[in-house]
C-alpha cells in the first residue's frame, strides 16, 4: 500500500532534533543520561564480519526470530499511517459535525455513514474484529462529539448499543472458540452512558422525519398549515426521497434492536414478538434496497466507483471512517488490512441472518429431545453464521434447563420414554445420572457450533458418552443385584436405569452418525475412501436402529404392564407387529449405505477402479485416521479394519444385482412416506432418499451388465441429490 509514502512524509516531519525533545521526556534512570550511540553503532557495523552478531549469552536465534518486526505492515500494528491518534484525526477534519453546512449534503453524508456502518457490522459478524470494522468510524469513538446532531447521535448510539448486545450474547454462549476475534472489544467505547436511551431518541428522530415526509407530500393548499415544520433539507424535489431513505434505515435499526432484546427474554417468551420485528426488519431491508436508485442518481459530487464493491448505496465513500484508527487496539489480530463487505453483500447477510433467526423463533420449544435434535440438524443445514447459531444455543440451554423450562433430567426421562412420575424418584440423585445431564447439555451446545468445530467436538465427547454408559451399567448391576433379593419396589430404580442405558446407547450412536455425516458436509472424505465411510455409516446406522427399536419396545412393554386391565384388541397387536416408521426411516438409510459400500467394494474388486494407491499411507492407516475417535470409544463394539475388509472383499456385481439394496431402500422410502405427512422435513428427506435409491438401482444394473465389457465406462459418485448419500453417475467417456 502507500505506507511507504506516508513513511517518507513522516520522516520529513520528524527532524532529528525532534527526537531529542522526546528522548528528554522519557527519563533515563537517576544520575544517568541518554548518550547517543548511533555513531558508535555505525562504526561497529563496518567492523563486524558478515553474519557476526553482537549478543549476550542469553541470546537464542530461535527466540530472536519471534521478535516483532517494527515497521513491517504485517506485524507492526502501531505504524503511524495517516493519523497519530483519533484526536489528531478529528482535528484534521476526518469526522466533522455537522458533516456539511449544506443540509442536503449533510443528509446525503449521513445516509452514506449509515450504509457503511451496516457493511462494517456485517463484516464484523463474519469474523473480523470490532475495532477494524464498526469502530473504524470516528463518530462512534467520540460519543460526546455527536451530541449536537440528533440524527447522527441517535444512530451512533443505537449502533453502539446493538454491538454491545450482540457482543454480550456471543460471549455468553462461549461457542466462538474459532471466531474468538469477535468479542475483542478492549479499549472501544461500548459502554457509553446514555446509549441505553438510544431507542427513545431514535423514535423521536423517526417521528420528526415522518412529519417532514408528510409535510412535503401534502398538497400546496395544506402546506401553509404545516409550514412551521422545518424540512429535512433544502431541495424540495429531493425531500421525499431522502426522508424515505432515512426512515427505512432508522426503522430497520429500531426493529433489529427489538429483535435482539426479544430473543434474549428468558424461556423463549419473546420469540413470538421477535418474529414480528424480524418481519418488519426484512421488509425495511427491501425498502433500503429500493432506495439505491434514488441515492445513486442524486449523490453529491462524483461517484468514484459504480462497481459491486461499493460499501454505500450512493456509491460515495462515507465520511468519518479510517480503518487504521484503532489498529493498535485491534490486537491480538495481526494488523492486516481487511476488506469490508460491499453494501449489497451486507444486506444479503442481514437478510440471511434474519431468516435464520426467524427459523429459531418459529420453533415450538418442543420438550422432546428427538424433535429438538432433528430441528437443530435441519437448522444447521442452512449453514447459519455465528450470530444466529449463538441465539439458538442460548435459547436451548438456559440456567442448565432446556429452554430454561424443563430440567434436563426430565428431558432425559422423556427421551428414554419413562413415565414422568419418575422425576420424584431417588434416581435423580444418582451422581452418574447428574453427570449424564451435564453431557447432554454439553452436546446441545456443541450442536450449535460451526460444522468443523462441531465434528471435532462430537468426536471427542463420544468417549464421555461411552464412559457414562459404563458407569451407569455398573450402577445398574449393583442396584439390580441388591434389589432383586429384597422387596419388589426396589426394582424400580433398576428398571429406570435399564431404560436410561438403552437411551444412552441410542444417543451415542446418534452422535456417531452425525459425526460421520458431517464429514461429508466438510468434504473430508476422498472418493477412494467412500467405501469404508459408507461401510462404517452402515454399521453405525444398524446399531442406531437396533437401539431405537429396543427403546420403543421396552417402553411399550412397560406401558402395557401398567395398563394390563386394558383389553388387548387385535388392532393393538397388529400395530405392535409393524415396524415403527422412525425405524423404517433408518432402515432406508441402512440399505442405501450398505448398497453404496458394497457397490464401491465391487467396483474395486471387479473393475479395479477407485482403489487407493496412495504412496503416503495405507488404507488401514486412513481407516484409523477417519474413525479413530469412534474406535477409541468402541463404537460399535468389535468393529475394526479387519471386519471391514472381511465384509467387503467378497463383494461382486453378480450378488449385488441379485440382492439390490437400492431397490429395498426405494421400496421402504415409498411405503413409509405416508407416515411422515405431518413432518415436512423428514418427508422431504425421504423423497430425496427415494430418488437416490432409484437412480443408484438403475446404475447398478447398467454397471453389472456392461461394466466388465466396456473399459470406457466411467463411474463417479456425486452429491447432487443428497448431501451424504452419493448418486452413482455412469458415463461413457
Amino acid at each position: 500500500m502507500d505506507w511507504k509514502s506516508t513513511e517518507q512524509a513522516s520522516m520529513e516531519r520528524h527532524a532529528p532534533n525532534h527526537s531529542t525533545s522526546t528522548s528528554s521526556s522519557i527519563h533515563a534512570t537517576e544520575n544517568t543520561v541518554w548518550a547517543d550511540a548511533s555513531p558508535l553503532l555505525e562504526t561497529v557495523c563496518k567492523e563486524l564480519r558478515d553474519g557476526e552478531l553482537i549478543h549476550g549469552e542469553n541470546f537464542n536465534l530461535y527466540a530472536a526470530m519471534s521478535a516483532l518486526e517494527i515497521m513491517d505492515p504485517k506485524m507492526d500494528s502501531g505504524i503511524i499511517n495517516k493519523y497519530a491518534s483519533v484526536d489528531e484525526a478529528i482535528e484534521d477534519g476526518l469526522a466533522p459535525v455537522p458533516i456539511s453546512l449544506d443540509k442536503t449534503v449533510d443528509v446525503q453524508c449521513i445516509i452514506d455513514i449509515i450504509d457503511q456502518l451496516l457493511a462494517c457490522e456485517a463484516t464484523w459478524h463474519k469474523g473480523h474484529s470490532l475495532a477494524q470494522t464498526v469502530f473504524s468510524c470516528a463518530y462512534l469513538l467520540r460519543p460526546e462529539r455527536t451530541l449536537s446532531h440528533a440524527l447522527l447521535d441517535s444512530y451512533c448510539k443505537v449502533i453502539r448499543a446493538t454491538c454491545k448486545a450482540v457482543n454480550s450474547i456471543v460471549s455468553d454462549a462461549r461457542t466462538h472458540e474459532e471466531e474468538d476475534l469477535f468479542t475483542m472489544a478492549y479499549g472501544l467505547p461500548l459502554n457509553v452512558e446514555g446509549d441505553e436511551k438510544c431507542l427513545s431518541l431514535l423514535n423521536a428522530v423517526e417521528e420528526n422525519i415522518s412529519r417532514q415526509l408528510r409535510a412535503c407530500k401534502a398538497p400546496p393548499s395544506k402546506r401553509k398549515l404545516l409550514e412551521d415544520i422545518e424540512p429535512l433539507q433544502n431541495n424540495f424535489d429531493l425531500e421525499e426521497g431522502y426522508c424515505k431513505a432515512l426512515l427505512c434505515r432508522i426503522r430497520f435499526r429500531k426493529h433489529f434492536c427489538h429483535v435482539l432484546t426479544c430473543m434474549r427474554r428468558p424461556q423463549g417468551r419473546g420469540l413470538e414478538l421477535a418474529r414480528k420485528h424480524i418481519a418488519s426488519c426484512i421488509s425495511e431491508l427491501g425498502i433500503i434496497l429500493k432506495s439505491e436508485e434514488f441515492l445513486m442518481s442524486n449523490a453529491y459530487g462524483t461517484c468514484e466507483d459504480g462497481t459491486e464493491d461499493r460499501t454505500t448505496a450512493s456509491g460515495h465513500q462515507a465520511i468519518g471512517f479510517d480503518a487504521s484508527l484503532n489498529s493498535r487496539i485491534s490486537a491480538p489480530t495481526p494488523p492486516r488490512s481487511i476488506k469490508i463487505l460491499s453494501w449489497k453483500k451486507a444486506i444479503e447477510y442481514f437478510e440471511n441472518l434474519l431468516h435464520h433467526l426467524d427459523i429459531i423463533c418459529s420453533y415450538l420449544l418442543d420438550p422432546s429431545l428427538d424433535v429438538l435434535l432433528r430441528f437443530v440438524a435441519q437448522f444447521q443445514k442452512a449453514q447459519p453464521d455465528l450470530v444466529a447459531r449463538v441465539h439458538l444455543q442460548l435459547l436451548l440451554v438456559q440456567d442448565g434447563k432446556l429452554y430454561g423450562r424443563y430440567p434436563i433430567l426430565a428431558v432425559i426421562i422423556r427421551a428414554a420414554r419413562l413415565p414422568e412420575v419418575i422425576m420424584r424418584h431417588d434416581i435423580q440423585k444418582n451422581e452418574y445420572v447428574v453427570q449424564l445431564g451435564q453431557i447432554v447439555i454439553n452436546m446441545l451446545k456443541i450442536l450449535c457450533t460451526n460444522a468443523a468445530w462441531q465434528r471435532r467436538k462430537l468426536g471427542k465427547i463420544l468417549q464421555d458418552w461411552r464412559a457414562i454408559y459404563v458407569q451407569l451399567e455398573l450402577a445398574f448391576r449393583k442396584e439390580f443385584g441388591e434389589g432383586s433379593s429384597i422387596a419388589n419396589g426396589e426394582n424400580a430404580s433398576a428398571g429406570i436405569l435399564k431404560h436410561i442405558l438403552i437411551w444412552v446407547e441410542e444417543q451415542t450412536y446418534w452422535i456417531a452418525h452425525r459425526f460421520l455425516v458431517l464429514g461429508f458436509e466438510l468434504e473430508l472424505y476422498s472418493p477412494s475412501e467412500y467405501c469404508m465411510v459408507y461401510w462404517y455409516l452402515y454399521v453405525v446406522l444398524i446399531r442406531l436402529a437396533e437401539k431405537t427399536h429396543l427403546k420403543m419396545t421396552v417402553s411399550d412393554g412397560s406401558a402395557k404392564q401398567k395398563g394390563k386391565k386394558r383389553k388387548d384388541s387385535p388392532k393393538d397387536l397388529a400395530r405392535e407387529a409393524r415396524i415403527p416408521p422412525a425405524i423404517l426411516f433408518l432402515q432406508c438409510q441402512i440399505c442405501l449405505a450398505e448398497g453404496l459400500a458394497l457397490l464401491l467394494a465391487a467396483l474395486r474388486n471387479e473393475l479395479m477402479v477407485l482403489q487407493s494407491p496412495s504412496p503416503f499411507n495405507s488404507e488401514h492407516e486412513r481407516f484409523i485416521q477417519h474413525f479413530e475417535l469412534l474406535q477409541k470409544a468402541c463404537i460399535p463394539d468389535l468393529i475394526s479394519y479387519p471386519s471391514f475388509k472381511e465384509s467387503t472383499s467378497h463383494a461382486r456385481f453378480s450378488s449385488l444385482v441379485m440382492y439390490n439394496y437400492f431397490k429395498d431402500a426405494q421400496k421402504i422410502a415409498k411405503e413409509v412416506k405416508n407416515s411422515f405427512l405431518n413432518d415436512p422435513d423428514r418427508l422431504a428427506e425421504l423423497c430425496i432418499l427415494e430418488q437416490v435409491a432409484e437412480h443408484n438401482s438403475v446404475a447398478v444394473n447398467v454397471i453389472s451388465r456392461v461394466g466388465a465389457l466396456d473399459p470406457s465406462l466411467k463411474v463417479s459418485f456425486e452429491f447432487i441429490h443428497h448431501p451424504c448419500f452419493a448418486t452413482v453417475v455412469v458415463k461413457r467417456s
Binding site: R13, H18, S25, G51
Partner: protein, 109 residues
Amino acid sequence: MEEGMEISSSTQAAESSSSDIVSRARKLLFRRMLVGIKDGRFFLGSFHCMDKQGNIILQDAVEYRNTHRSSPSSMEQRCLGLILIPSSCRTSCHVDCSIEEQLSLLKFQ
C-alpha cells in the same frame, strides 16, 4: 597439530580484529536503549542483539508515541516485548549511562 595451530591463530586474529570498537559495543548489551524511528515513535528496551546490517533487537520493549504529530503533547505507551528494529527505519539511538561512562564508552576513532 599444525592445523590446530592454524585454527587457534586464526581465531586469535579474528578476536583481535573484532576490535576495541566491537567489544565496546558488547558492553552496551543489556543496557536500556532508546531507539527512535521514522514515523516518530520511540522504543525503549534492553539491548539484546545487533547484526552487521545494524538491525537491533530490544528485549522487553515499550513503544512510545505522541498523540499529536505536530506538537509534542501527551504520550501513549504500550508494551511490545521482543522487537526487531530494522536499521532502515531507525533515526536515533541512545543508551542509558552515567556521565563518566558516556565519555569513555562512546568516544572513539
